[in-house]
């Protein structure tokens, strides 16, 4: 998997650099001196037991947490202390573990919100809705319809998201993130709580996004089969620290990983 990006010239600089970041909550160190270098166009999985600090790390990257130490750079810009909305404008989108869709809106409007940073209409233009605001609205509607086609959501576009089944809502959330046309997507357990069929669909969409749009993907996932299957590289966290990193094969053989997952004394290879 993932050979498509190897020849890309922009590979020399990491797309996202997390440098010695630390985030504390009182006495608890949720993210402890973690450094990452995510290459442009790769699928990077972050795995680890519950409470390892995976979501905290994602929250720090997307601007919800202010790290106490360290820095985060995206495409050469320091985003360590940027607001979440600024980080979104720079091209980082994310989804949430427990789905954060706008329940009082249709699928269509949820995706249109993903276009927010690309639209310009202000209060007055929207109030009049004549000329510029309407043209802009329709132009972005076309982009959203493309995404609806891509994720096979056409038939539910006018439904309220609160009425959708769980797996569909996860897919709509992916669509909303995709509508932002992000360069980097942070996916927090996109397949959590899904059945096998839904997982396969989602894995296929994630790979499609990666290959068709060249989007860099950072993925938190518990399903090891999926992780090992679609990732270019894997980072393993445990109790806030990074304990291993490498290709899926390397990580699977790493004794520290096996210990973190299964406790000491197990044979190499058992972690998968």
């Amino acid at each position: 998997m993932g050979d498509h990006h190897v020849s890309m010239p922009a590979d020399i600089l990491p797309h996202l650099t997390v440098d010695a970041v630390e985030k504390r909550f009182g006495g608890v160190v949720a993210v402890d001196n973690i450094s990452l270098a995510i290459r442009r166009g790769e699928i990077r999985s972050i795995i680890g037991p519950n409470g390892a600090g995976k979501t905290s790390l994602l929250n720090t990257i997307s601007g919800f947490y202010r790290p106490e130490k360290g820095s985060i750079r995206f495409e050469g810009h320091d985003i360590t202390h940027a607001r979440p909305s600024e980080i979104a404008e720079r091209g980082i989108a994310r989804t949430f573990q427990n789905i954060a869709l706008f329940a009082g809106m249709t699928v269509l409007d949820n995706l249109m919100l993903g276009r927010h940073v690309h639209m310009r209409a202000g209060v007055l233009a929207s109030f009049v809705y004549w000329g510029m605001a309407q043209r802009e609205e329709l132009a972005h509607r076309i982009r959203v319809e493309e995404i609806l086609d891509f994720l096979e959501l056409q038939d539910i576009r006018k439904q309220f998201t609160s009425a959708l089944p769980y797996g569909m809502r996860k897919r709509v959330e992916l669509g909303r993130a995709l509508a932002l046309e992000p360069k980097l997507m942070l996916l927090d357990e996109p397949m959590g709580g899904m059945n096998q069929g839904e997982k396969e669909d989602m894995a296929r969409f994630v790979q499609d996004v990666n290959q068709k749009f060249g989007t860099t993907i950072v993925l938190i996932e518990h399903d090891m089969a999926v992780v090992m299957d679609i990732s270019d590289s894997v980072t393993v966290l445990d109790r806030g620290r990074k304990i291993a990193e490498g290709t899926p094969d390397e990580v699977q053989r790493n004794p520290a990983v096996i210990e973190a997952y299964l406790g000491a004394g197990h044979q190499a290879g058992a972690a998968a």
């Binding site: 979104a88 989108a93 949430f96 869709l101 249109m112 919100l113 927010h116 940073v117 509607r141 932002l180």
Partner: protein, 355 residues
């Protein structure tokens, strides 16, 4: 005449995003237009039209509050005060500088929007009940300030006499004239609000209401949009305040006290929060109900008590009946009159063959 999608096929995204996508809705709106613009003014006399005018003014204010409370989910108990800001700003412009209505009305709106934005600043930090308290404080502070600064309030009675508006050389003296004058602003207010809600700005408001964390993550600057909501909402309030002042012929702070703020909250809650027609239904309901209740008591009260006790009890009885009717409505239909309207509409959607 019914609301039915069946058989209506849209061939462009422009048609799909239209305010009234169905031909039946357009016919209905046209019919409502005929009723409100031609039939009502012919049927009602001066008194009837004056009540219609009160409703129109309430609609403008309620639409504004609905943008803030219904769509953005920020509570405000200061709507009455924002109306008074608009009212006094306009009255001063008209009386001291002899400004025409088309300057005074937007100017009153802008002044109210400015004050409203200042009052909205705490919303960046606090939500819900706490925000309600800060806006309540703003209501009282604004009331006090207007009452105690003669430069604003025009002296001892805190009252400024407002000359009637003059349109194309015609001074609007009769209620039916004022009615058409107000109707222009009601239509602008309604269409403008509907446009806001279906476009980028309104979607951002609803996003903040539904999931503020997710709103931030897709690039909405929450602080800025909350202040937009306060500004737009108080602009509407300011305009409603100016219109009310033209209607009354005086600017008087007693017309804009806390009870007015609460009445407006009642309107949008009864009408249905975050719905396009809710404020209209709510404004009609809350304005008409006390008037009808009093009429009812005056007509039939004589059967239950003698007239001298009746005259003494009508004011309090009116409040009691008004209050209990509101409670009754909220229990029966918590989502407001707009929901009731939708139920009726949906019933006829497939009528007479429901399956």
């Amino acid at each position: 005449m019914f609301y039915r999608e069946s058989g209506v096929f849209k061939t462009s995204y422009a048609a799909d995003t239209a305010l009234m996508p169905l031909p039946n809705t357009r016919i209905g709106a046209a019919l409502a237009g005929v009723i409100f613009l031609a039939v009502l003014p012919m049927v009602f006399g001066e008194y009837g039209m004056s009540i219609c005018n009160l409703i129109l003014i309430a609609i403008v204010g309620a639409i504004g509050l609905n943008i803030l409370v219904g769509y953005t989910d920020q509570v405000s108990l200061g709507h009455g005060a924002f109306m008074s800001v608009g009212a006094y700003a306009a009255a001063n412009l008209v009386v001291r500088m002899d400004m025409p209505f088309w300057v005074a009305i937007p100017a009153g709106g802008v002044m109210a929007a400015f004050i409203g934005t200042l009052v909205g600043i705490p919303s960046l930090r606090i939500k819900g009940l706490y925000l309600a308290i800060t806006t309540l404080a703003a209501q009282l502070i604004i009331e006090w300030t207007i009452n105690h600064v003669p430069a604003i309030s025009g002296g001892a009675q805190s009252t400024i006499l407002m000359p009637p508006p003059e349109v194309f050389g015609v001074v609007l003296k009769f209620q039916w004239q004022i009615y058409f004058f107000l109707m222009v602003f009601v239509i602008i207010a309604m269409v403008g609000a509907a446009n806001l809600i279906r476009s980028r700005i309104g979607r951002a408001f609803i996003a903040i209401r539904d999931q503020d964390i997710a709103a931030e993550i897709i690039g909405i600057n929450i602080a800025r949009y909350k202040l937009y909501a306060f500004a737009i909402s108080s602009f509407y309030a300011g305009v409603a305040g100016v219109l009310y002042t033209y209607y009354l012929g005086i600017a008087n702070y007693e017309q804009f006290q806390l009870t007015v703020s609460i009445d407006f909250l009642a309107m949008i809650i009864i009408g249905g929060l975050g719905s396009p027609l809710g404020p209209v239904f709510g404004a009609i309901f809350v304005t008409l109900l006390p008037i009808l209740v009093r009429r009812f008591l005056e007509t039939f009260g004589g059967y239950f008590m003698d007239y001298s006790t009746l005259a003494a009890t009508i004011p309090s009885l009116r409040l009691a009946i008004f209050g209990s009717l509101i409670i009754f409505f909220l229990v029966v239909e918590p989502e407001g009159l707009n929901r009731l309207w939708r139920k009726v509409r949906n019933y006829f959607r497939t009528w007479p063959f429901s399956y």
